[in-house]
Amino acid sequence: MSGPLKTDSVEQKGQITNPLFWQLLSFVLFFGLWELAGRWPISFAFPPFSRTFVALLSMIADGSLPKAYLSTLQPLIIGIVLCSIIGIAFGIGMGLSRAIEWLSLPIFIVLQAAPMAAIIPLITYMYGIGLTAKVLAVVVLAAPVIVMNSYKGIRNTNPSLLQMCRAFLGTRRQQVIKIILPHAGALIFAGLRLGLAMGFIGIVIAELLITPTGIGDLITYHSSVADYPKMFAAIVSIILLAALTIQALERLERKLFPPEMRGLGDVS
């Protein structure tokens, strides 16, 4: 049987295969390039890596960064938790009930493709600058992907397994609990991960539009006083935080739901 390409790609002999080496090299190259680019007169607004790093440390030291994150992470977590509970429940409902599916599926298909960010200005004008607005921004952006993934997880259950359950006289309830839900677990978790990514996007947009709270405020403030190292530092911090959290979730997902245990492994 044929498999994925390996040695056909252009490779040098005697390669170092330790992934940590490559990650470190990658970081070094990236930050090195950044440093060079910063010193080059591309733009006054583009500080080199060194100054950004220093700015980051100073913002942690003087407490402005931690304080901002407290304000940012609160609505993010609340929003995601709320969204997850309601979204997963609804997605499961959609998967199990043809009636709910018929009513809701077209809407969520459109919502998943749509730029939900367009609604955020409305939210901020209606609910002001407080926690509610931010939580809503997170919910509005994260909900479609969480619902759709939960729904797909339920719907795409291997029909052979469902038939097997019926053949051994399983009731509908047993079928849902013992077959459909375990099978959907992987996609539901993936939906949560993607929902979190959307949540980060929502919170950043909400905060860049509404001041004066959280990381978004730090960014806009330092931008307005032309303190570019600090502005960059704030931006880098949220991007790294989001990326790291989501990568961690991905790793967790692979551990909890290895592809072989989803019946997606070799089909021989």
Binding site: N158, S160, L161, Q163, M164, C165, R166, A167, F168, L169, G170, T171, Q174, K178, I179, P182, H183, E260, M261, R262, G263, G265, D266, S268
Partner: protein
């Protein structure tokens, strides 16, 4: 050598959504305690017929009677072995084999005890904690068979159970199946597209015609297995005649 019919198929027809007529006017009696095979060209509806007997698909016309009762769904007296194994990928062998009993509500200790017995029976004793993805195709099919045996049904329905394994493993399985059944006195209804397999295993072969499938002929190989090795049986005149007779009929459908 006649035995009472345990399954009676009475003028069964099946038309799928979209107008495909898979079966038409199928009537046959399948004897108790024997191995009957449904054989025919691709698309002749043999799997459809098997699933109708299993109660997984309703017939469009006609009825099926099992042990004197009309079939309107799956039942505890019929066990199904799937072609693609249909094992829970997130459960180990022990839980998979015990699954039928789990659905019945048997307590854990009891069903695991029963499962262990049947796992040993199919020769997978050391693999109780393994997961399906760690097993070969042949081993997965044994798990499927053990699961079917564990619920102690009278009738075992097998849907091309050996089609996903290689020839050597397949022959070994055929031996083991016959061995197993000799001791258990179960009725087996088997679907295959292999003529040799059908002739080797069956007490009775039901030949189906091409779509729309209907009974073409019923053949009884009458092979005497008493004290003979598999190789001897494969040279037996009755076996070879049966193979030839089937082929003569089937080759018109190719």
């Amino acid at each position: 050598m006649s035995a009472d019919a345990i399954v009676e198929v009475n003028q069964v027809g099946k038309i799928y959504d979209g107008g495909v007529e898979a079966l038409t006017n199928v009537s046959v009696a399948l004897p108790h305690g024997r191995l009957s095979t449904l054989l025919g060209p691709s698309g002749c509806g043999k799997t459809t017929l098997l699933k109708i007997i299993a109660g997984l698909i309703p017939p469009s016309r006609g009825e099926v009677w099992v042990k004197g009762n009309k079939v309107d769904g799956p039942g505890p007296e019929r066990a199904f072995v799937f072609q693609d194994f249909a094992l829970l990928p997130w459960a180990n062998v022990l839980r998979n084999v015990a699954f039928g009993l789990e659905l019945r509500g048997l307590p854990k200790e009891e069903r695991h005890q029963i499962a262990r017995k049947h796992i040993a029976e199919v020769g997978l004793k050391t693999f109780e904690s393994s997961y399906p993805h760690q097993l070969s195709g042949g081993m997965r099919q044994r798990v499927g068979l053990a699961r079917a045996l564990a619920i102690d049904a009278d009738i075992i329905l097998m849907d091309e159970p050996f089609s996903s394994v290689d020839e050597q493993t397949r022959r070994k399985f055929q031996e083991e199946l016959l061995d197993l059944l000799r001791h258990k006195k179960k009725t087996v209804i088997f679907v295959t597209h292999s003529i040799e397999e059908a002739a080797y295993l069956s007490d009775q072969i039901v030949l189906l015609s091409a779509r729309p499938g209907t009974i073409s002929k019923i053949i009884q190989p009458s092979i005497d297995r008493e004290g003979r090795s598999p190789d001897e049986i494969r040279r037996d005149k009755n076996y070879l005649d049966a193979v030839d007779e089937i082929w003569q009929i089937l080759k018109h459908y190719v």
